[in-house]
């Protein structure tokens, strides 16, 4: 994609708060109908970036352009703000009825009364809150409040919507129901969206592109599988949940298959590194297979290590096993079924195996 079909483009953006640089983004493009998730640890600048994108926070340098046009004058700023809308972490509802809350953006725009009524009702229905229309916004549950806040933002029918972790304060079932509804509405409306989230499955599920942020910078951006499976550095790998990250050194290159020395062991890996490079081997736990017998002859996996189960954690449908393969720490996911069939338990000796292609190599500084 090129610059020309970007709905928003950012160039050399720098933001400082109280003299401290909080955002430094050389370039960022948002394309029409694209859904981008911003992920990253607390304080990495995700929310700040959203505020800047919404023109609610002035950068110290650089600017954002809407369809290649800079936003400079107060009129341009207002016109731009009326094309976008934002949902915050807190619902921030007005002290009036649910109906008036959802209608507020339209009233601000001076939309005709009939149309306000029609659109407000439509979006109340969309978010399943029509029965609350005449209720005071002060008397809503957390989930209901956030639905009102979403309906209020969508009722404007913006070109772009910015979502700043709108579900982070909700309990999991409420959150799921709301994510489902939001996903449906976002897909159906073909809106462009930028969403801050802490929830990886949310990010994977909803977005066309993921941008990982760390200390005010976008460290990686790409489609979700690319970011999840090919993190550009140890930080991203750690953040997106490559549970096992091992430091190693490339010993040999066997026609593309690299032999990496890790904790006194040798791992076969496929990746972009040269002999003698220092690397991180990132192994996703779902790619590690557990067996109670040595699978050496039956598997295509090149890496097989005997080890002991140190710890077992429940992760919903999966169990997360922490293994110690004589000095080599590994993490594996197994289904509850497999767990029961193999009679796994803490302290049990098992064989962990993974393919060379399951090892993602990230070169590291020495």
């Amino acid at each position: 994609m090129t610059n020309s079909d970007a709905i928003i483009s950012i160039k050399n953006l720098k933001v400082a708060l109280g003299g401290v640089s909080v955002l430094d983004i050389p370039s960022f493009l948002l394309h029409e109908k694209e859904i981008v998730s911003l992920i990253g640890p607390n304080g990495s600048g995700k929310s700040t970036l959203l505020l800047v994108l919404n023109c609610l926070l002035r950068p110290i340098s650089g600017a954002i352009a809407y369809r290649q046009e800079a936003i400079v004058t107060r009129e341009e700023l207002l016109r731009y703000r009326r094309r976008v809308s934002m949902v915050f972490q807190e619902p921030l509802l007005f002290d009036t009825t649910v109906y008036n809350n959802v209608a507020s953006g339209l009233k601000i725009r001076g939309v005709k009364r009939n149309e306000i009524r029609e659109r407000t009702m439509r979006y109340l229905k969309c978010f399943n809150i029509e029965q609350l229309a005449n209720r005071s916004a002060r008397k809503l549950s957390g989930g209901e409040s956030q639905r009102v806040s979403l309906a209020r933002a969508f009722a404007i029918e913006p070109e772009i919507i910015f979502l700043d972790e709108p579900f982070s304060a909700l309990d999991p079932p409420t959150r799921h129901a709301l994510t489902d509804d939001l996903e449906k509405i976002v897909r159906e409306s073909g809106i462009t969206a930028v969403m801050v989230t802490h929830d990886q499955s949310e990010a994977l599920r909803m977005s066309d592109r993921i941008a990982v942020m760390n200390s005010g910078k976008i460290v990686q951006t790409g489609n979700p599988s690319m970011v999840m499976n090919s993190p550009v550095n140890g930080f991203v790998a750690n953040f997106v949940g490559m549970e096992t990250i091992l430091e190693g050194r490339v010993l040999k290159d066997n026609q593309g298959v690299l032999l990496v020395s890790v904790a006194g062991k040798e791992i076969d890996a496929v990746g972009d590194a040269r002999v003698d490079d220092a690397v991180y081997c990132c192994i996703r736990p779902e790619n590690v297979t557990i067996d109670i017998f040595d699978p050496d002859d039956m598997t295509s996996a090149r890496n097989v290590f005997p080890g002991e189960i140190l710890d077992i954690d429940s992760l919903g449908p999966f169990l997360r096993l922490s293994l110690d393969c004589t000095g080599l720490p590994l993490v594996a996911y197994v289904t509850r079924e497999a767990f029961a069939t193999l009679h796994l338990a803490e302290g049990k000796n098992v064989f962990a195996s993974f393919k060379a292609t399951s090892v993602h190599l990230v070169r590291r500084k020495r």
């Binding site: 919404n54 207002l78 976008v84 809308s85 934002m86 807190e90 921030l92 002290d95 008397k139 404007i156």
Partner: protein, 232 residues
């Protein structure tokens, strides 16, 4: 005890017979303090808004000054207003010393910091991000200010009540700049002071009770509005 009882009887008598002098004094009190409160609300809410919503060096100092002003002694205000309005004072040309206008002037000065202080607190109590949310809904600056006032309407109403309560029961400034002129600048509080001084305790009691009732009534009305506005 007799004194109190007599006072109560007298008060009812004055009330029931609609004594024109008492009615006149009561009406003037309402008018003067009402206008003073109105002026203080206009100035206090708008300046409170500016202080609460903008960032500037010395903001904490300004807020402290305003909060101190909430306890401004009326006699001090009376003294300053008198000096300013004195025949050869800076505002002497206005020729309003010892008029109801002078009382309004003084009372507005007393009420403004009260209204302003409570307004600042009310607006600062709104969630920080509410302003951003309003702007992100496409509001102009004027629309944003209007919505913020609407959101803070309950505490702002408390500001109005506090302002009115402060000035209707204030006596020092009213007597100094109004002069307690019979049938012209005499208000309920100055009349009470005078009648007590003369030993007419019954009349003083009567006027005090009217004053109390008045304050109660105004607060009651505002409270009704506030309660009705409470979330259902």
């Amino acid at each position: 005890m007799d004194l109190i009882l007599e006072g109560l009887i007298k008060a009812f008598h004055l009330f029931l017979t609609l004594d024109p002098e008492v009615l006149g004094i009561t009406w003037l009190s309402i008018k003067v303090s009402g206008l003073a409160t109105f002026i203080s609300v206009i100035i206090g809410v708008s300046s409170g808004m500016i202080v609460a919503l903008t960032r500037f060096p010395g903001k904490k100092f300004v807020v402290s000054v305003v909060n101190t002003g909430m306890g401004l002694p009326p006699v001090v205000v009376g003294l300053f207003v008198t000096v300013f309005l004195w025949r050869n004072g800076p505002l002497g040309f206005l020729n309003i010393l010892y008029t109801p206008t002078a009382i309004i002037f003084a009372q507005a000065i007393i009420a403004t910091p009260i209204v302003m202080g409570i307004s600042i607190a009310a607006l600062q109590n709104l969630p920080n991000k509410l302003r951003l949310q309003i702007l992100s809904l496409g509001a102009t600056r004027v629309q944003m200010v209007w919505i913020l006032i609407r959101e803070a309407r309950l505490p702002l109403m408390a500001a109005v009540m506090a302002g009115f309560g402060g000035v209707i029961s204030e006596v020092g400034a009213s007597i100094m700049v109004g002069g307690n002129i019979k049938g012209y600048s005499r208000v309920l509080t100055t009349a009470t002071v005078m009648e007590t001084g003369r030993g007419n305790f019954d009349v003083a009691f009567a006027i005090s009770i009217i004053l109390l009732l008045l304050v109660f009534l105004v607060n009651y009305i505002f409270t009704l509005i506030q309660q009705r506005e409470r979330p259902r």
